[in-house]
């Protein structure tokens, strides 16, 4: 692993130089350790073509089936129209994106290299200096390797496989081949096709039967030279009766020079297993975040998505759960925030395809400064999925008269024993609440932030402590300068 290729989980902490400069820099100092390709100087190219896809595949020394899969996906991507619904995606210029180099964007080498606003944010978050450097990725490499190795040993002992997708394809080819793309086929949607064609990095987790992983597995602690792009691919298989909590995250604002992030996440919770997948997404506001997340829950399995979307220019993400086995349970907790220039179109889907399955979707959204949040969801009960139960609850808070909130819940029921409910409310911050808090000496901003934090509390209480604290702090930061 070359020193310049030390990138944390998502290629998140990236120097805010122009992409051009960035690439010059990279092609100069590029020492990425492709196995079969040691001394070629990599010349990044814009745009997407078969050649680019072939190159990605060959540089990764992938098996032939994956190469073919990528090429086929590229065809699907080219054939499919852009979605006509949801957010405005007309700003995406597919020809102007580097599909390959993105995975090699390097990290800041020292604290001063980090963009001003990121440093500022961390100052405001009150994170200690050492931790800041760590979060900034500056010293993350060393420290996280330590942590990573420690965790890795523990995981090895109980037989849990936790690695990046590229390594998994190399080290566990059969497992990957068996499950890759089975929940989200390449032609599922345009962006899943794109991901399948150019994916790089992402996490691979396999939890053996009956194993309970006590610590949340955080992508953050995994150093991975080959990662991490805007097109990461994650696959989690929780075998029978196992438990795992995966936290994908950005515990700090993310900065990226690129403009498109399109991940695919597939999760299988086998019989009696329980998987929780937590995301705190805080991309900078020049990122199109178009992610396909899908889980299958088999008999008596439990699948939980905890999905916080605080950043990005556009987010379109609807984590879904296919309840495929009798008694399976699914839950989606979604928080969306949209500030100036942002459109967050989030939600959740539950497809009941087996009897006695239950699902709960809870969505909380906050929009301000002209931001637009949306809940878009689907609850579907297939014929013969008798005695399905589902409840959907969406609440939206609109903080000023320029902002907007939309709710598009789809309920489709093909079985007469199903019981489904949906409720939503949209409101502003209660004046009496504000008045009370301000009469106690809080400023309007503080009071508003407090009310918003209370509003999203049902979600934050489900987060690991440090993430909950951070989400609250982020909300407070977002509130700054909002009112009065």
């Amino acid at each position: 692993m070359g020193p310049s290729a030390s990138i944390d989980e998502k290629g998140e902490h990236i120097v805010a130089v122009s992409q051009e400069e960035h690439l010059r820099e990279l092609s100069k100092g590029y020492r990425f350790d492709w196995k079969d390709q040691s001394n070629s100087v990599f010349e990044p190219k814009r745009g997407l073509s078969e050649a680019v896809v072939e190159e990605i595949s060959s540089r990764k020394s992938e098996p032939d089936w994956m190469r073919k899969r990528r090429l086929k996906a590229l065809k699907h991507f080219e054939q499919r129209a852009m979605p006509w619904w949801g957010a405005d995606l007309s700003g995406i210029d597919f020809e102007n994106i580097y599909y390959f180099i993105r995975s090699t964007e390097k990290q800041a080498q020292n604290w001063e290299e980090l963009p001003e606003d990121i440093r500022g944010t961390w100052d405001k978050l009150g994170i200690p200096e050492a931790e800041k450097k760590y979060l900034g990725g500056v010293s993350a490499q060393y420290e996280s390797e330590v942590v990573y190795h420690k965790i890795k040993k523990e995981l090895d002992d109980i037989g849990v496989l936790f690695t990046d997708m590229d390594s998994a394809l190399r080290d566990y080819p059969d497992l990957v081949k068996e499950h890759f793309g089975t929940l989200i086929p390449a032609n599922d949607n345009k962006f899943a096709a794109l991901n399948t064609a150019v994916w790089s990095g992402g996490s691979f987790i396999y939890v053996p039967p009956g194993v309970h992983v006590d610590i949340p597995l955080q992508a953050y602690f995994r150093i991975n030279a080959e990662n991490m792009g805007q097109f990461e691919r994650t696959l989690i298989i929780a075998d029978e009766g196992s438990y795992v909590h995966y936290v994908e995250g950005c515990s700090a604002p993310i900065y990226t020079s690129d403009s498109l992030h399109s991940a695919v996440v597939e999760i299988k919770a086998m019989k009696g297993a329980r998987v929780r997948y937590t995301t705190i997404q805080n991309w900078s506001t020049n990122v199109y975040n178009l992610v396909t997340k899908r889980a299958a829950a088999y008999e008596d399995a439990v699948m939980e998505w905890v999905d916080g979307n605080i950043g990005s220019k556009v987010t379109m993400k609807y984590p879904s759960i296919y309840l495929l086995g009798k008694g399976a349970r699914g839950e989606v907790l979604s928080v969306a925030f949209a500030g100036k220039g942002m459109h967050t179109d989030a939600g959740g889907k539950a497809i009941h395809a087996a009897p006695y399955t239950t699902s709960v979707i809870t969505s909380k959204s906050v929009s301000k400064d002209g931001g637009r949040t949306g809940y878009r969801g689907l609850v579907r009960v297939e014929p013969d999925a008798h005695h399905a139960r589902s409840n959907v609850r969406c609440d939206a808070l609109i903080l000023d008269d320029e902002s907007r909130s939309d709710t598009y819940p789809y309920i489709e029921v093909e079985d007469e024993t199903a019981a489904l409910g949906h409720e939503a409310t949209v409101s502003k911050v209660g004046e009496d609440q504000l008045f009370y808090l301000m009469s106690r000496g809080l400023s309007e901003v503080e009071a508003t932030a407090m009310i918003v934090n209370g509003f999203i509390e049902p979600i934050t209480r489900e987060l690991p402590m440090e993430y909950a604290v951070e989400l609250n702090r982020l909300i407070e930061l977002q509130m700054e300068g909002s009112v009065g």
Binding site: W85, A396, I398, L399, D400, D401, E402, S403, R404, S405, D406, T407, Y408, P409, Y410, I411, E412, V413, E414, D415, E416, T417, A418, A419, L420, G421, H422, E423, A424, T425, V426, S427, K428
Partner: protein, 406 residues
């Protein structure tokens, strides 16, 4: 006249009308020819497939009976008449309002309506006039293979007050098309109650659009009862255009056999300080299918909006299928908006209780459905209207649920 594909020849055969209306008609005909049959690819038509729909019918003027409950309308200056007649006598009012709320180029079917409509109902209530008793139009169709284009144009002047019942019925037919448009202008401070009872026989494809514009401090209450037709797509839209307006939209439907209902609603808040409330309740039996989709739009200008939207569905048999999509699009912040939707079976505990009292399961279900609909009917203020609706429901449900029922 034989079946037609609504071509030039058929268009030429239409009886003449006033010059401006003829122009409107001509334009609609061009639009009809240019527009495609709505595709399921679009969100609006996602749940109703008309791709194989054969547009070949005999244009037909159904029998229309207008009843005034014995009131002297002339004395009040109220116009309650045939739309074509009104186009002569009240040319200005008709030309100014016809197809302004539902433009002919909205879909291929509204264009068809605009081109081939003859007849229809025109109701005008002058400012500050109050019509005590409900007025009613019964549109009866009994010609197989016919296409009919019912149109209601209701204009309530400032401060006027009226209740109007639009009733559509036919026997079972092999095949017929009802392509209906209802346009309602509720003047400032006016009160309008509009009830539609759709009891087309099987074989009828009903495509209806109802759109009301509610003025300042005005009140619009609508009740839609839908039992008939093989396929019924009914859109009901209210635009709250003046500050302080109020809209209530109630719906009751019962689907059985292989009926397909596609109900769509829009509560469009343009002006501030308005409130709107929508409650649709449906029961489904056999292999029927019902879709409810609704939109609450709150425009940036519509601060202090209070809007509610509720869809409740009871599914009574294994092969029935219900979908609900209650949407909110909120662009103002000082608002209170909510929606709720549910789909579920009859409550087994309630059935059990009734059965334990010696009531058969079928009867218990009827009682429960009657009670389920009662919540809507209880909100209908005029006894006569409520009674009408109750009768229609009882008829649909079969034998009276209890001896005491009307």
């Amino acid at each position: 006249m034989t079946s037609t594909t609504f071509d030039e020849a058929a268009f030429e055969l239409l009886p003449g009308t006033s010059e401006p209306l003829q122009r409107m008609r001509k334009q609609a005909f061009e639009e009809f020819r240019a527009l495609p049959i709505p595709s399921q690819e679009t969100e609006e038509w996602r749940y109703t497939d008309l791709s194989d729909f054969e547009l070949s019918f005999e244009p037909h003027v159904p029998s229309v009976v207008r009843t005034t409950s014995g009131q002297d309308l002339d004395g009040l200056g109220v116009m309650f008449t045939d739309l074509d007649g009104a186009a002569e006598s009240h040319a200005d009012l008709v030309e100014r309002n016809l197809h302004t709320l539902v433009p002919t180029d909205r879909t291929k079917f509204t264009a068809l309506h605009g081109a081939f409509r003859t007849g229809g109902t025109f109701l005008y209530i002058p400012p500050d006039v109050r019509v005590e008793l409900p007025l009613q139009t019964l549109t009866y169709l009994d010609a197989d293979g016919a296409a009919t284009f019912p149109h209601t144009l209701l204009i309530a002047g400032e401060g006027a007050d009226v209740t109007f019942i639009d009733r559509f019925a036919s026997p079972a037919l092999d095949r017929a098309l009802s392509d209906a448009i209802v346009e309602i202008v509720v003047g400032d401070g006016a009160h309008v109650r509009y009830v539609s009872i759709q009891e087309w026989g099987s074989g009828v494809t009903h495509l209806g659009i109802q759109r009301a514009r509610v003025g300042r401090d005005a009140e619009f209450r609508s009740l839609a009862i839908g039992f008939g037709a093989s396929l019924a797509r009914a859109e009901a839209e209210t635009v709250l255009a003046g500050a302080g307006g109020f809209s209530e939209m109630l719906g009751v439907f019962f689907a059985d056999g292989t009926q397909h209902f596609d109900h769509r609603s829009v509560q469009d808040h343009v002006a501030p300080n308005c409130s709107s409330d929508l409650l649709y309740k449906g029961a489904l039996r056999d292999a029927s299918r019902a879709v409810y989709s609704g939109w609450v739009h709150v425009r940036p200008s519509a601060q202090k909006t209070d809007a509610m939207q509720t869809s409740r569905n009871i599914v009574l048999s294994e092969h029935a299928k219900a979908d609900a999509i209650p949407n909110l699009e909120i662009e103002a912040n000082d608002v209170r908006c909510g929606h709720a939707a549910s789909v579920g079976p009859v409550d087994e505990e309630t059935v059990f209780y009734l059965e334990s009292r010696g009531i058969s399961r079928a009867q218990a279900e009827r009682l429960i459905v009657t009670g389920f609909f009662q919540e809507v009917l209880d909100r209908v203020r005029l006894d006569e209207v409520r009674h009408n609706a109750e009768l229609a429901i009882q008829e649909e449900l079969g034998e009276p649920a209890t001896a005491g029922a009307r």
